[in-house]
């Protein structure tokens, strides 16, 4: 668990001196996410920069080097009955903390527990001037200076090399229960809308392949009472705990049948992600859908294009991106608004003036 930040800093300075660009890598679990960095970029490997630097269970704070695997973090937290509440995709435990933040991962409980960005308290990063800087901190609240830490979420490494990250952690829930109900996408939508406003301890609401999955988590009595009430009121069925755990895990890891057998499209499937107003009724109903986060996140796969899907997304108060594709040259999201593009380019220039980090990884034009 070495600290190789000095070497990382040297590599950045070398890149600056040699006018080369860098391809920042953790454990390479997310190469299908985002575009490919410019082909002539020199790899900058973070996976050896790993290890938990500080963990204070009583403060609900953990600080780890960016290359630390989520498996290592999970193990340390579990010893104290705690967890990464944002529940990022683990990729068999091999995903790194830095990569998870850079791609802004969060699991099925996102609407209730928050995303990884929500739980980040501070970062250390190397900027494109070759300076190792610290933003935010290891406490729950900080409004001194701009929030450079959370800005990194989703930036895919284009705004600096994350070297160390402090996150808020939370106690594991005492008890979980998964309920299911067989229904089509329309009934699933109606019931989801109804239940989302309930005061029950809901932490998961997903519809896929004609089944609505609901997860209740909290104190044992609360979960038991809510389970009973929903069984009676909505004819939901409580499933075995192992089955429930398996479902939410496969959902998070993109390992459900939905992900394994994209309907009707052979060859290299493209996975599209909508972030839209959760009240939006079902659309493109001929497709096979996965409706997550109570409707705020929806997935389909197939040969679409960003313009067509973008119209649906816009009409629903949101956006769509090509989340996964084996073709690293394709644009992942349309950003046509000139002022927004300019601001993004300016922010990039502020942190990476010479454009050395992950060129093209986020947008072809950045």
């Amino acid at each position: 668990m070495p600290d190789i930040s000095t070497q990382l800093l040297e590599q950045v300075q070398t890149a600056l001196a040699e006018h080369s660009t860098l391809d920042i890598r953790g454990n390479r679990t997310k190469t299908a996410l985002g575009r490919a960095s410019a082909a002539d970029s020199v790899p900058l490997d973070l996976h050896a920069h790993s290890g938990i630097v500080n963990y204070e269970p009583g403060e609900l704070v953990m600080t780890a080097r960016a290359g630390t695997t989520l498996a290592e973090i999970d193990a340390a937290l579990a010893e104290h009955g705690q967890m990464l509440a944002c529940d990022p995709r683990r990729f068999g435990g091999q995903a790194t903390l830095g990569g998870s933040l850079a791609t802004h991962q969060s699991g099925p409980a996102r609407p209730w527990y928050g995303s990884l960005r929500d739980h980040v308290l501070g970062v250390r990063l190397i900027n494109g001037r070759g300076e190792h800087l610290r933003f935010g901190g290891q406490v729950m609240k900080n409004v001194a200076g701009y929030d450079v830490s959370r800005l990194q979420a989703g930036a895919m490494g284009t705004l600096g090399v994350l070297t160390e990250i402090s996150v808020k952690v939370l106690p594991q829930p005492d008890y979980s229960q998964t309920l299911i109900k067989t229904c089509d996408i329309f009934d699933g939508h109606t019931l989801s809308q109804q239940l989302a406003s309930s005061t029950k301890p809901l932490t998961g609401m997903t519809w896929v392949d004609d089944t609505l999955y609901l997860r209740l988590q909290g104190s044992q009595q609360a979960v038991a009472a809510s389970t009973r009430q929903w069984q009676e009121a909505y004819q939901t069925t409580a499933i075995e705990p192992e089955q429930g755990t398996q479902f939410w895990q496969q959902l998070r890891e993109h390992e459900l049948d939905f992900h394994r057998q994209p309907a009707g499209h052979s060859g290299s499937p493209k996975l599209w992600r909508f972030s839209i107003n959760p009240r939006t009724g079902p659309f493109l109903t001929g497709e096979r859908w996965l409706v997550n986060w109570g409707g705020a996140q929806r997935w389909i796969s197939g040969e679409y294009d960003l313009e067509t899907l973008g119209e649906h997304a816009q009409a629903s108060g949101g956006e769509v991106c090509l989340y996964e594709s084996s073709d690293g040259t394709e644009e992942r999201m349309l950003m046509t608004h000139p002022a927004l593009r300019r601001i993004q380019q300016n922010v990039k220039a502020a942190l990476d003036p010479r454009g050395i980090f992950n060129p093209g990884r986020l947008f072809s034009w950045l």
Binding site: E131, V148, R150, A153
Partner: protein
Amino acid sequence: MTGNAPTTDIAITQQDLAAAFRRFIDAEYVISDAETQRVYECDGLAAYCEMPMLTVLPENTEQVQQVLQLCHQHNVPVVARGAGTGLCAGATPNQYGVLLSMAKFSEILEIDSAARLARLQPGVRNLAISEAAAEYGLYYAPDPSSQIACSIGGNVSENAGGVHCLKYGLTVHNVVQVKLLTVEGEALTLGNEGLDGYGADLLALIHGSEGLLGIITEITVRLLPTPECAQVILAGFASVKAAGDAVGEVIARGIIPGGMEMMDSFAIEAAEAFAQAGYPVAAEALLLCELDGSVEEVAEYVDSVTAIFNELGATSIRVSQSEAERLLLWKGRKSAFPAVGRLSPDYYCMDGTIPRGQLAHVLTEINRMSTEYGLRVANVFHAGDGNLHPLILFDSSIDGEFEKTEEFGGRILELCVAVGGNITGEHGVGLEKLRQMPAQFNDAEISQFHALKFAFDPKGTLNPGKGIPTLKRCQEYRTLKQNADAVQGGHKHA
């Protein structure tokens, strides 16, 4: 005193600018006389006063856009103002600039109850959101103590917190979309009505940006279902340390309360005199621990927390038995600032955040400095998330007393940084904490902030001179510190 001139020359007179504004804004809402502008000379931190060149109160986004375009064209500084309750002199006017009051933007545009979202103009009061959402069984979680008055635009700009933030997050965790006008007057939409879009999180960057990056014209917040049940436990302790340990133990047992607040004996006394909530005035420290959720969950956790408090030596315990009693118990805490204010001509509120484990040490040090400076201090504390609000009592009519107070406050903030915390948890930097910024950030970090400011506002006309100190000022701070340390070191060796 604070006249931060823009970097480029202003190319228009007050009269011409006022005339230009009156072409598209109701003449009544373009204020150029000193008398009428007087109400805008400061925010909640009255020690920093300044008169603006002009004050405008636009009524719609197009007017704001035109104001920004004109100001940009003529290099005129623009300072946005929400409700003016800020405590860091963030909304203090600029003497060369326009004060842009967003007070007319007070409309709740939509309560989207099915999506549990509210679309708001920036001038909507924080509490008004929950009031409007109540008929749908929903509420807006972040609840700063100033919630009756402060605006949601100001909340986003300061990333405001409240007593329920340990469990429900700060403003940044509860906003999904912000509409912003750039300094050039161009409209941007950041975020969306879903959750987590593609790309770097510019929405997060806007939170806490203190009006330095753009003017917020619309905000969409998430609403939560009002919990079935909420009960608050009021417990007295014989020492701050015992109360601090009790907070730690609740969290170690896996319980995240809806709110967890602490007050020291002086704050207890003041709040009790003000609110008559039945606080244990003999206690050295008081905890307010709120548990919310389903009826079963609250019952289970109220039992657990009561047991923990008893085990750790609580001197008194009271559990609210009705909604009226719950609100009464909170009233004391929520009115703590004005309550302490009644005991003294003036008070000065600090806002450092520390790792919770450092609480006893930090409070002991604050008490020691309180004696050293001869200034009384009351402490209220968002104990769950380590955010400390020492209130220093002083009298500004006594020569030099405010300067002494500021110095004392500054040392508290430096202490917070030294124990692993920071200079501001929720009130922001504004003009007030510019001095302490170099205690938390080095020059390269400060330069990085300036570069980010430049990305949005190349001419530096949005709220100039706030939030981020100049490098020159940082140098001066470090030199002063070195000298002071050398003097102190000299004393020790003598």
